[in-house]
Symmetry: C2
Subunit: 457 residues, 2 copies
């Protein structure tokens, strides 16, 4: 509980209307998209770096836990107030301060919605590629905190690759000015890269400078069907070995591909269908056409039994709608419960991992559907089930998924972060020295452990 004096002091920092302690606000901000929840003693909505700084200095002094929060769209519980504390929502810091065509960058506050920013810079002829699935409501601040990716990461990289500069407030309220406006630099330790992916445990971001690139003039899409997931994985490898880098290389496993093509109007034999790839290309109009043709050949070489390059805008939309409707169709399978995991393996291990996921499904007799960014080796694996979430079998299934991932030199998080739900698996991935060093960094930045306590470690 916050004392009356504490409440008064905090209210003074952000102003009456931006410090909420009512039941409704506290419930809403106690949850995030992981479905987990904690206890929010209050919710603050700072509007300036100075307010964040004062908030943190106060909480640091009084030892009050602070939970920075973007849109709460994270899948691993990163924004959940585990130990009772104050949720600091950055959603009111949502100004785009600058879009510079000459410097090819944008300066934003952390609460800017990723999709909004993409649309805005597009109108300036520029392109911000990172595109997490939640882009219509997630925030840039949250993207930096988890080093978010998305389908286009296979060609364009993840959030880190666009992070030029960062203003970040330390636990004690002091303000770091990291990086800047240049596309390269070798001036001291790259603390902005340390902050990227630190999941709100080292600082609160107050201002973010992002690199932009020229907007590609043309784009095109195709899809290819395979009789097995391994076939699709081999096709992805074949594409890379031909020197092609698709803009997206999205995979759907047996269940997913059958679900989305059932009514899609494409003459795909459902019985034969074992996996699907959706492939995009962008660049100049000529190179897009050439690249799609070459990717089609690669798919055929890897055993694709049906493939289709979109020849009109309408066909492109139809193909992308296969991917877009996926979540909805998975829901229609009628499983009340779902655990979504995010794994990543080296590219060459793709055929193995998709095979092993099928083996786990068979072994446990449980429904697993996987889809995602195959070109990166990054898959979203969903375990679907009836009954209790805490079911021991589910834990065993998830354990098996991570065990197999690590056996293939994979990592326990591709783009979702560790948060709460993957802490156990992080200890599987990292050795004691490395994990201990990360803890040392945490202690250095946040000696009183007030920043997003209980996360990552």
């Amino acid at each position: 509980m916050l004392s009356r004096t504490q409440q008064k002091a905090l209210k003074r920092i952000v102003g009456e209307g931006r410090f909420l302690t009512d039941e409704a606000a506290r419930s809403v901000y106690a949850f995030d998209a992981s479905g987990l929840s904690g206890t929010a003693l209050a919710v603050c909505f700072p509007k300036t770096t100075e307010e964040i700084s004062k908030l943190l200095a106060f909480c640091h002094n009084d030892g009050i836990p602070v939970y920075p929060r973007g849109a709460g769209s994270g899948r691993t519980g990163g924004a959940v107030p585990t130990v009772p504390g104050i949720v600091v929502s950055l959603e009111r810091m949502n100004r785009v301060i600058e879009v510079s065509q000459k410097d090819m960058l944008t300066v934003v506050e952390p609460g800017v919605i990723t999709g909004d920013l993409q649309g805005l810079v597009m109108r300036h002829g520029l392109f911000y590629p990172p595109d997490p699935a939640s882009l219509s409501f997630c925030t840039i601040g949250g993207n930096v905190a988890t080093c978010a990716g998305g389908p286009k990461a296979v060609k364009y990289g993840v959030t880190r690759d666009y992070l030029l500069g960062l203003e970040a407030v330390r636990a004690d309220g002091s303000v770091l000015t990291l990086g800047g406006r240049t596309v390269k630099a070798s001036s001291g330790y790259s603390l902005k890269d340390l902050m990227c992916g630190s999941e709100g445990t080292l600082s609160i971001f107050s201002r973010i400078t992002l690199r932009l690139i020229p907007r590609p003039v043309a784009e095109g899409v195709m899809f290819a069907c395979f009789s097995s997931p391994e076939g699709a994985a081999h096709a992805a490898l074949e594409i890379f070995s031909m020197g092609l880098v698709p803009r997206t290389c999205e995979f759907m496993d047996r269940t997913c591909s059958r679900l989305v093509t059932r009514e899609g109007g494409f003459p795909v034999d459902q019985e034969t269908l074992g996996a699907m790839l959706i492939l995009e290309s962008d660049g100049s109009p000529g190179s897009v056409a050439d690249e799609l043709d070459a990717m089609k050949v690669a798919c055929q070489k890897a055993g694709s039994f049906y493939s289709k390059v979109a020849e009109s805008c309408e066909e492109s939309n139809t193909i992308w709608s296969l991917r877009r409707t996926l979540s909805q169709r998975v829901r229609q399978l009628g499983y009340p419960n779902k655990v979504s995991e995010d794994i990543v393996v080296p590219r060459g291990r793709l055929p193995e991992i998709v095979g092993r996921l099928e083996a786990i499904e068979r072994h446990f007799g449980i429904k697993i559907v996987s889809f995602g960014h195959l070109g990166d080796g990054n898959l979203h694996v969903n375990v679907l089930y009836h009954g209790d979430r805490e079911n021991e079998l589910i834990d065993e299934v998830i354990d098996s998924i991570f065990r197999e991932t690590l056996k293939l030199s994979g990592r326990v998080s591709g783009e979702h972060g560790i948060g709460l739900t993957k802490r156990k698996y992080l200890t599987w991935e990292l050795d004691v020295v490395t994990l201990g060093t990360m803890r040392g960094i945490k202690d250095l930045f946040d000696p009183k452990a007030i920043l997003n306590p209980g996360k990552v470690f």
Copy 2:
């Protein structure tokens, strides 16, 4: 001085032949390419992670300074043993452990020569883009330590963008295993990114995993002449604003462009010539031709009075030789002394920075030649002079260059690191909180300050 017991212990760790204390070895390894020197008490050549670990544990215990060293090709004194200590040369750890076509990566020891690695992976149909000017003798370990770039960074990014995994030995001898073999991950703090650019002050790298990309099938080159440096800078901006990303965008100022074209056989009017751009494109054969044509148009639009796209392999070589012979021709100007600096500004400030460099040259009546990676905003600025290096005027000139750079939101090092020579300027760039935080990181990793003491800070 090392005691006899210490010498014996160190000799036992690396073996007799790889622990040198003779005069010749100690002199050679006291220098680096900055021209500065210090005092090497001994030179060690470890061959395994275990040897590095034991060396560091011993030196940590005895408080002996340790200077990790690649090829000594750094320009800022990063490898110089400022306080007497042991130079740990990684040059015998030069095995390429793996080139994986499927995973599109290579695993190397730190002493592998960058150019050798590029050639090797090329023969596997793969491409490692970072290409510092010293690539024929610099090492991958040194490249990671300074986050090296090169001409191709404008399209392909710097060393950091290719660093997937890193084995690094901490000052106390404990071994960190950072990153891995996947192209993305969000598993805890990105310590590999903290190590990249840390200039040997936080750890010694013992094994490095680098991402590779498909080798582009075609490439082409052109050059364009302008009446002023500002014209060339505007052309670079015009190129980006047309949505083009050249593979290289190399600039030469008035002096440089006149020097190299004097005998090049191109009909360029020396009197009019004020700057030159060399532009490359790579990709598919069709896109290369299109891109070069479009870049030529952009240059003409920005006022280029002569431009030439290479139409044969021979012509390409002739154009590139303009750039390659530059250093030699600058030497022929007959100035015995030179200070080379490496600055970077936001892209949009390019016309201003090249203008201000000319203004500094005029103001001080001193010869300044600048060339480099204009597309990145990264210029190498060389102050040429007769007489004493310690000359006060030279210090003033250098100060002015960095002052103007910072005024334009630039940074004091683009790709050379801070080392010894830029420590003063780093304090100009960074505020007290940020610099203090970096020092905190240094203390955390190296509490006894034995790793490359006196560098960066």
